[in-house]
Amino acid sequence: MVFNFTAFTYIVALIGDAFLIFFAIFHVIAFDELKTDYKNPIDQCNSLNPLVLPEYLLHVFLNLLFLVCGEWFSLCINIPLIAYHVWRYKNRPVMSGPGLYDPTTVLKTDTLSRNMREGWIKLAVYLISFFYYIYGMVYSLIST
């Protein structure tokens, strides 16, 4: 049992993933609030938009770590999500600030439900990868 860089990577990934899970939960809650009229879309977008880039960057950062330590499988399961993030951010509405959500369109039923779905799916992905990271961490600690 050696505490090597791989194990360190997984530990960081676990912590980071916990944050990502929080982001996803927050995302879901925020859109649910929108749906049920608890929040004004402008306020809601103002609170959501600043979180988008940090989430993406954190996710990319974790994968960079995987890349560095050669954890190819972990990297692979995350690549689709990275690609999605890149695509998503490239196609964001015209905005001067960072972020994805435009208060004028965010309440369209299509957009709303898509965002909701995205939140749930991401939450699931993060949760699954969280458990996988635990496994990876333990495995890397044991195997070496």
Binding site: M95, S96, T104, L107, T109, D110
Partner: protein
């Protein structure tokens, strides 16, 4: 079937061919006479609605010589063909000003108000009255009609007077509850009635049998169709034995066309039946003066054609009246007189003759019985002329022809109302549609003697508005029948009569599919288009302490709620049972207690509440107006400022607002200039803000000043402003900075910011770069439809939070990036006006701007508004279209609302609706009016739910669908790209026709036909027009700003204006001119039916194709914000002189604007016609006169969207394309 034709195609302009009756009668004797009676009665309701017409019939017959001598042509005035029957007059009228109503209808099309609806201002009152004691009568009657068995026991004709009164009562009750004015008919008429009644009785017996044979077809779709088609049903069952006697009479009568009393009974139409001489005169318009035999055959053919056409065509000659129709006294007489009385050719049209003749089918060449499709060319393309003519030259009918409208009412009344009830109560299973398939055009085309069953079915299908049209066969689909707004048929008469006016709220489907899967099968979009703040007259306004609303969903109480008992009501949206407050039992009108149903809330589906204080977040704001003028060098060159200031100065007093009204002005070029009009000053002070990157207010007060107190200063300023910047050379335009200070200025109170921009903002915050590539204007890929920056959008959102709306007048000389700038209006509930290439040297632009700006200043305005759309549980609003900010899923924030703003909403399903019979949409607009009163305007529309796919398809409202599709397409082109949107249009059309094919169980595969329900017959035409519209066209050079503006219009125009914008109305105004000439002679005969002077003839709308143009006529195209008069090359000099005051077309310059004033009846009648077209428009549009050889002709030709252009398909080609795609 032809009977059906006459009816459905409302006779108004249809001027059914004179000869049709006769021939029909002979060719298919079985079907002849009894139906006439029936028909007549059916039409009664219509008649009744048309006081105008009644009078016509009562007029003494013109001298017979009249029509033999062309010179005497005058007396026609009275003979307006009846307007299209099918309007919900009650509802519509409610919203029309009683006075001007007559002038109102923009056109003969169903969109406009048919004249018959107008003269009943009393309807503004509570329509709900029906429920009163009279209700019993109607229900009794209804039950009678509903069950065929009872028909045979129809009451003996009571003494004539009674009958008359009773029937008129009934009619009043059922059709026009409030319009009870019609007096008892003259005694002769009563006799007539009596006789008719008798006949009826017999006939009904027959009819019953026939009805029994056919399983009732579904669809209770429309009272319209009922009324119009009822004649058909009657016709269907006619046995031969019945027919023969009458046919005999017919002949008799026809040989002696003038009216004997006997002729009255059976053959009011007799004269119609036999107009050989007249037909000879009519040659021009397509009926050849052939020997009778030939005529017969031709007529038959034409009839068949008509059948095929499913009544969508009203060819003058071929409008072959249904055989049975011959006898229908009212309908027939209306329809036919004109032809009878045909004048010799009027100078304008004679050229048509050869054409028409050529097109009339050869006498012997009958189309195959089974409905072998006629080649399109054979379809009397010339009908418009004929119609026009018929109208012009029609003489007042001989007195004997007048069936007193109220007579025969028993049947007429009952039928239309009852039949739907009958079937509604026992909704037919979808399979019933099966036989229906048979009633497709092929079947329809089969001659009637052939297939009585088919005829029956067809009759039924029409009766319930389920007739179909083969579009490939009917290129001329634009007719009153297809144009009419589909009526909403509810189970409850009372509710039908008070449903929300289609002008205010319209659903794309007048029957809601019960589930999402059914909706998907129909491939139709579900949504509503709404014009919530429309100017309406006689809007019930009530003030009460507590407004009754559902405690769960906050729905306002409305006519469609269910009263459990006198203390409880059940919400029709969420089904919660609520308590009624005590004071709700008090009727403010009569000041009595007791009946809840008399409350205005329950009697009107459009109502306005004066809101108590709990509806205010803050004290109602005063009216605040801030004007931002661009004074850069480009703006000065365009010279708009002069006009704007002049108009503003003139209309300062008329701007809505109370004593607290405040105004302010800011000018901006590279810097921002403020004008302080503080108290002690004797002239305004200018302050210039140089630091535009960090703008601030130079002083806290006096920039917005009270209008009343400082009027002199304001006027002074407005006088000085144009001079002040006349010699500026500043090319900059710091729009962003100016907006920011404007925001700071208005922040405290909210209000309206009006921005005049004439170039690309290029200084300070929000500066933009030119994006458009002028060489790329006709390319397929249109880029830059999206804003370049979100600066303006964010600004608008900020504004909307502070109840500030920004309106934009863009008067640009060059590309100004409207896509970006218009963001300030789009998201703040403002409006956008665009005057491309505005130059003060172009007087027409100046005029146009002046009118628009005047309307803008003086129209009503609602401040700090919100609008909420509620729908019945199971539905939800999916997407909103329009200018607003969506603040929550069903709440629109509208800092300002104006009467010219329209909105659209797509509706989606949350759950199935299979357990409900009706659904409702309620739009509630809460706003502060200019007097500082908080008000709530509530519109409720109620729609039936159906489980049958064909019913859904047949109940579609094409115009609303087009309105919604256009909004969706704009979204699509912005979110994706233009070609996607164009494809979506075409796919939507194909899908719909595919779906209909499936719904009808038509064989799949290519069939050479393109079957459309009547309700959707115009869809391909409109879609094609849409594809050629500046908003969506490709291949034609279109400036980006123009395109973006057109798209903005698609999103925000109210439906009636949008339809004119997409598919302009084209009229041939010859009929008007001859009408005017004739009315000079016969004006004394013309009773003042209308509110002003004599009524204008209803001109038929023409499809937008050059095939309708001819060089001897003048055409008028109403594009909404522009009216074009197209003057043919060979218009007779006398017409030119009297209408335009010119001696020859050569005197017209290339660009002529404004209708010259000439003191002639023709000029006057044209003006009145234009006035009528303009009635519903926000402001009178510019009139442009285009001579045939003028440079401006391109503008006119460009709008003929049915024709082929170098980059787009013609209508027929488009149809073929669609057909090829429909599997």
């Amino acid at each position: 079937m032809s009977a059906y034709n006459a009816n459905i195609v409302p006779p108004p302009m249809a001027a059914p061919p004179p000869n049709g009756n006769q021939f029909n009668g002979q060719s298919a004797p079985t079907v002849a006479p009894p139906p006439m009676q029936y028909q007549q009665q059916q039409q009664q309701p219509v008649q009744q609605k048309l006081p105008l017409q009644q009078q016509q019939y009562q007029q003494p017959p013109p001298p017979i010589s009249g029509y033999q001598q062309p010179g005497v042509a005058a007396p026609t005035v009275g003979n307006l063909p009846p307007p299209p029957l099918q309007f919900n007059s009650n509802v519509i009228n409610k919203f029309l000003p009683p006075v001007t109503t007559t002038a109102a209808p923009p056109g003969p099309g169903p969109n406009g108000l048919p004249p018959h609806l107008r003269p009943t201002p009393t309807q503004n009152g509570p329509p709900s009255m029906i429920n009163g004691s009279n209700g019993a009568h109607s229900s009794a009657n209804s039950s009678r009609t509903a069950s065929p068995g009872l028909m045979t026991t129809a009451p003996k004709p009571p003494p004539p007077t009674n009958v008359a009164n009773l029937t008129s009562n009934l009619q009043n009750l059922n059709l026009q509850p409030t319009n009870g004015i019609s007096g008892p008919p003259p005694t002769t008429q009563q006799q007539q009635q009596q006789q008719q009644q008798l006949v009826h009785k017999d006939y009904r017996g027959v009819a019953v049998g026939a009805v029994g044979n056919n399983p009732p077809q579904l669809d209770t779709s429309g009272a319209n169709s009922l009324i119009s088609a009822s004649g058909l049903t009657a016709q269907v069952p006619l046995p031969n034995h019945m027919a023969s006697p009458f046919s005999a009479t017919n002949k008799l009568i026809s040989s002696a066309p003038l009216n004997s009393s006997s002729a009255r009974v059976f053959g009011n139409a007799a004269p119609v039946a036999k107009p050989p001489q007249s037909s000879g005169q009519k040659i021009l318009y397509g009926v050849q003066a052939t020997p009778d035999q030939q005529q017969h055959q031709q007529q038959q053919q034409l009839q068949q054609q008509n059948q095929q056409n499913n009544n969508l065509q009203r060819p003058p000659q071929a409008a072959a009246p249904p055989p049975t129709a011959a006898a229908a006294p009212t309908g027939a007489s209306q329809a036919w007189q004109p032809t009878q009385l045909m004048r010799p050719p009027v100078p304008g049209v004679p050229t048509m003759q050869p054409l028409q003749q050529a097109q009339a089918p050869p006498p012997l060449a009958k189309p195959p019985l089974a409905g072998g499709p006629l080649p399109p060319q054979q379809q009397q393309p010339g009908y418009p002329y004929g119609q026009a003519y018929a109208q012009q030259t029609a003489l007042p009918p001989p007195p004997t022809l007048q069936p007193p409208p109220p007579t025969g009412g028993v049947f007429g009344v009952q039928q239309p109302n009852q039949a739907p009830l009958q079937y509604q109560t026992q909704p037919p299973p979808p399979p019933v549609q099966q036989p229906y398939g048979a009633s497709n055009p092929a079947a329809a085309a089969s001659p009637m003697q052939f297939a009585p069953m088919n005829v029956t079915q067809q009759g039924f299908s029409q009766l319930w508005g389920q007739d179909t049209i083969d579009l490939m066969q009917n290129r001329h689909v634009l007719s009153p029948a297809t144009l009419q707004t589909p009526k909403i048929v509810l189970h409850n008469q009372f509710q039908e009569s008070i449903n929300c006016s289609p002008n205010i709220m319209r659903c794309t489907l007048t029957k809601i599919p019960e589930s999402n899967s059914l909706l998907q099968k129909s491939r139709l979009p579900l949504g509503i288009v709404i014009h919530p703040f429309r100017d309406v007259n006689s809007l019930p306004v009530i003030q009460c302490i507590n407004i009754v609303r559902c405690r769960l969903c906050r729905t306002y109480i409305n006519p469609f709620v269910y009263f459990v008992d006198s203390k409880m009501w059940k919400c029709n949206l969420c089904y919660r049972v609520n308590e009624l407050p005590e004071d709700f039992q008090f009727d403010p009108a009569t000041k009595t207690y007791g009946d809840v149903t008399r409350r205005p809330e329950v009697r009107s589906s459009t109502i306005e509440f004066i809101a108590p204080s709990e509806y205010m977040l803050r004290p109602p704001q005063p009216a605040m107006y801030l004007f931002l003028f661009d004074v850069s060098i480009i703006a000065q060159q365009s010279g708009y400022l002069e006009t704007a200031c002049a108009v503003l100065s003139r209309h300062l007093d008329e701007m809505p607002g109370d004593a607290r009204t405040q105004v302010g002005f800011i000018c901006y070029d590279s810097f921002v200039h403020f004008y302080s009009m503080a108290d002690g000053l004797n002239q305004p002070h200018e302050m210039t803000l140089l630091d535009i990157d960090d703008p601030f207010l130079p002083r806290p007060d006096s920039l917005l000043v009270n209008l009343k107190e400082c009027k002199e200063l304001v006027k002074d300023l407005l006088k000085q402003l144009p001079k002040r910047f006349a010699h500026t050379h500043d090319p900059g335009s710091a729009l962003g900075a100016a907006l920011q200070v404007a925001f700071k200025l208005m922040q405290a109170s909210g209000g309206r910011i009006t921005v005049f921009q004439s170039c690309l903002p290029n200084k300070g915050p929000g500066a933009l770069e030119p994006r458009e590539d002028p060489n790329n204007r006709s390319s397929k890929d249109v880029a830059h439809l999206n804003p370049a920056t979100d600066f303006y959008k964010r600004y608008a959102l900020e504004c909307s939070g502070y109840q500030i709306a920004c309106d934009l007048f863009l008067m640009n000389q060059q590309y100004s990036d409207m896509a970006t700038i218009s963001g300030i209006s789009k998201h703040s509930g403002g409006c956008v006006h665009h005057f491309p290439l505005y130059q003060k040297s172009k007087p027409h632009m100046v005029d146009s701007f002046r009118m628009c700006f005047k309307r803008y200043l003086t129209r009503k305005i609602g401040f700090e508004a919100v609008m909420r759309i509620r729908c019945t549980r199971g539905l939800q609003v999916h997407t909103f279209h329009g200018n607003f900010f969506v603040r929550s899923t069903d709440l629109l924030s509208l800092p300002n609302v104006n009467p010219d703003a329209g909105f659209g909403m797509q509706i989606s399903y949350e759950e199935s609706l299979s357990d409900v019979k009706t659904i409702c949409f309620q739009a509630a607009l809460l706003y502060t009016n200019s007097e500082g009163e908080r008000r709530i305007r509530v519109h409720t529309v109620c729609l039936p739910v159906t489980a049958s796919l064909p019913e859904v398809m047949h109940s579609a409202d094409t115009e609303a669908i087009i309105g919604l599709l256009s909004k969706m397409a704009v979204d699509r082109s912005i979110a994706s790209n233009l070609s996607d949107a164009r494809d979506a249009f075409i796919n939507a059309t194909i899908d719909v026709f595919n779906a209909f094919k499936i719904a009808q169980n038509l064989p799949s595969g290519q069939s050479g036909q393109l079957i459309a329900p009547r309700s959707l017959a115009l869809m391909p035409m409109y879609i094609l027009a849409m594809l050629k519209h500046p908003a969506f066209r490709v291949g034609t050079s279109t400036r980006l700003d123009d395109r973006v503006y057109a798209m903005d219009c698609m999103k925000t125009l109210p439906l009636d204006q949008l339809m004119k914008y997409v598919y302009p109305e084209l009229y041939k105004i010859d009929a008007l001119i001859y009408h005017a000439r004739n009315s000079n002679v016969s004006s004394n005969q013309q009773e003042d039916e209308d509110d002003d002077d004599e009524p204008l003839p209803d001109l038929p709308r023409l499809q937008l194709s050059a095939e309708h143009l001819d060089s001897r006529s003048i055409f008028l195209m109403d594009c909404g914000n522009l009216i074009m008069l197209y003057v043919g090359l060979n218009v007779p000099v006398d017409v030119l002189e009297s209408v335009l005051g010119i001696g020859s077309t050569a005197e017209l310059a290339d660009y002529v604007y404004g209708l010259p004033s000439v003191a002639t009846a023709e000029n006057d009648v044209l003006k009145r016609f234009i006035l009528r077209l303009n009635y519903d428009k926000p402001y009178g549009p510019l009139v442009q006169i285009i001579r045939d050889t003028s440079l401006a002709k391109g503008m006119f030709i460009e709008r003929l969207t049915d024709d082929r252009s170098e980059s787009s398909l013609s209508y027929y080609e488009f149809l073929q394309h669609i057909r090829a795609q429909v599997k």
